[in-house]
């Protein structure tokens, strides 16, 4: 097996904080971007890229590896931060996010960025691609997993439920969908904009194995992903309760930071809170 790094929980927590600092630095440098949903997903992404998934820059073009699709494409900064720390491209390049001629597009592009497996950004589409990839893996006899990270707001897209039906119908137990349930979307609370609850029950009704976790508790994330990986016969969804903007006090549960860059003062404050230097 080819795990890039084997880490204990404390080391992973430190890694998640490092990725959070990258996210803040990148978005501050770009002057635009989506910090809230990157920070809420930081612990999940860290667990996947630094512990759970078997992947490396050397086998980036191989189908015979674990796969990741970021359906909530606006969380590109946390994805890029993880890829850079895993060696897919230089960490120095992170601050080129959203700039002309940068490989780091505002939303992930598989054509532009090494390590990005699927282009996303138009919400609700990642899970369908994950299903297709999972089918291909099964046809090729490869015992690999496809992890698909979705936002909770995008659960309102009809295509998500088309994909949910498909994965269940074809028993795609190599698909693990993680819903970053931070409870906020651009226009406010998900339950005010478009009610999602009971979200887990909906997935269960579609034939999925449903697990719940605190998505900001790395120990729980690791345990839950382990259980998801062990489950056979049906696809697994993990409803991950998270805090939008997690780790930066003034961004936490603040819908204003869904898609806004911190100003210079906020940048300094955020970096301080995340234990880094400006």
């Amino acid at each position: 097996m080819n795990f890039p790094e084997q880490k204990g929980v404390h080391e992973l927590e430190a890694k998640a904080n490092l990725l959070r600092r990258h996210v803040i630095r990148m978005i501050h440098a770009a002057g635009s971007g989506h910090p809230g949903g990157s920070l809420s997903a930081a612990d999940i992404v860290t667990a996947l890229f630094f512990k759970v998934m078997d992947h490396s820059p050397e086998n980036v073009d191989s189908v015979d590896r674990d796969h990741f699709i970021l359906s909530k494409g606006h969380a590109a900064p946390i994805y890029y931060a993880a890829l850079a720390e895993c060696g897919y491209f230089p960490v120095d390049e992170l601050v080129t996010l959203r700039k002309l001629h940068s490989r780091l597009q505002g939303h992930p592009s598989r054509v532009k960025t090494k390590g990005v497996e699927m282009s996303t950004g138009s919400l609700g589409q990642g899970l369908s691609a994950a299903n297709g990839l999972a089918l291909a893996l099964r046809m090729k006899g490869l015992d690999r997993r496809v992890y698909c990270l979705c936002g909770d707001g995008e659960m309102a897209e009809g295509q998500i439920w088309e994909a949910a039906m498909f994965a269940s119908h074809y028993h795609l137990d190599n698909v693990i969908c993680i819903v970053d349930r931070n409870g906020l979307q651009i226009d406010g609370r998900t339950e005010d904009v478009m009610s999602l609850e009971p979200l887990g029950d909906k997935w269960q009704a579609f034939g999925w194995n449903v697990l719940y976790m605190n998505g900001n508790d790395i120990g729980q994330v690791l345990d839950t992903l382990k259980a998801a990986k062990a489950h056979r016969g049906s696809p697994t969804v993990i409803v991950a309760k998270t805090v939008k903007g997690k780790g930066v006090s003034f961004m936490e549960n603040n819908v204003g930071f869904h898609g806004k860059a911190p100003n210079d003062k906020e940048f300094e404050q955020a970096m301080k809170e995340l234990g880094g230097s400006v």
Binding site: N131, G132, Q159
Partner: protein, 314 residues
């Protein structure tokens, strides 16, 4: 003129079975229309490589993209109105932008779908697919050309759209003809007017050329089967040698094939042009041949357009 008639869809099914036999990476998806699109032939031959997606075209396109990520060459089929309209964003975002190896082969395009009415008569699909970067767009003229076009796109990596009609259509190409993506074919040579037909409109162009011959007019007939990449060399040569062009398409003339030809000529060798096609209105139920006459896409309409445009020749 009389020709044998054949279904484009049956030829698609035949081509898929042939591809499936030699290539294990061929996977086929359909959205509950496998009997109509004839992907059912592949499903029968290789059930382990066929997946019905149900009536969920958006998910079908996304799933196709994922299969392509996994190294498969994917054919996804449904009616053209759904493939290009219902699932437009999925085709754009999940297939074309990531430049994935997905072939969208759609049937029942245009007004010849007939009785089902305007809800099913897409006349925008060529415009929609053509406007997406990375997309190859092919409109075969008959059954055998459909067969060859399907085999040809399977050899080329990247996204492609192939448009087929519902009706059986006259066989006007030969099995000996090679299909080259991006190459139009001159079916009849002529020097007074160029009739550029696409898909099922090539036959009215051939018939119109015969009618014009009776009047002493020498018409060149071009089968423009690849819409993107457009064979501008053949078009410019025709404009230069004939001095006037009529385009004929079973599609809206707004943003259709005629518009593309006009744009290509305008930048290189502009000549008087007339576009035959749907005049930016929705169709209605009816027999396909009735509808073609009703909406000005018959043989006489092509001939009349030729005479009209020739009056503007310098």
């Amino acid at each position: 003129m009389t020709w044998a008639v054949e279904s484009q869809r049956k030829n698609y099914g035949k081509a898929l079975v042939e591809l499936g036999r030699t290539r294990k990476d061929i996977v086929v998806l359909d959205a509950d229309l496998s009997g109509s699109t004839r992907t059912v032939e592949f499903a029968k031959a290789y059930p382990e490589r066929f997946f019905n997606c149900g009536i969920a075209e958006q998910n079908m396109m996304g799933t196709a993209a994922g299969l392509a990520l996994g190294g498969m060459t994917v054919f996804a089929s449904t009616f053209a109105v759904f493939a290009t309209g219902r699932a437009y964003d999925q085709v754009r975002q999940s297939i074309a932008y990531p430049d994935l190896n997905v072939k969208i082969v759609a049937s029942h395009a245009g007004i010849t779908v007939g009785m089902d009415g305007a809800s099913h008569q897409t006349m925008e699909d060529i415009a929609l697919m053509n406007a997406i970067p990375n997309m190859t767009v092919i409109v075969p003229a008959d059954g055998p050309q459909t067969y060859r076009a399907v085999l040809a796109v399977a050899e080329r990596p990247g996204p492609a759209y192939i448009r087929m009609g519902r009706s059986d259509v006259p066989v006007i190409t030969s099995d000996k003809d090679e299909f080259v993506v991006g190459k139009a074919s001159v079916m009849v040579d002529g020097s007074d007017i160029a009739l550029v037909g696409t898909g099922q409109m090539v036959v009215p162009c051939l018939e119109a050329a015969e009618m014009l011959k009776q009047k002493g007019i020498s018409a060149r007939v071009i089968n423009l089967s690849t819409i993107k990449p457009l064979d501008t060399a053949t078009l410019i040569k025709a404009a230069r040698e004939c001095g006037a062009v009529v385009t004929a398409e079973e599609h809206n003339i707004v943003s259709g094939v005629g518009t593309l030809v006009a744009a290509a000529l305008a930048e290189s060798y502009p000549v008087p042009m007339q576009r035959v096609g749907m005049q930016d209105i929705f169709g209605q139920s009816g027999e396909s041949d009735e509808l073609m006459k009703e909406y000005g896409m018959g043989t006489k309409d092509v001939a009349a357009a030729a005479i009209k445009v020739m009056e503007r020749k310098k």
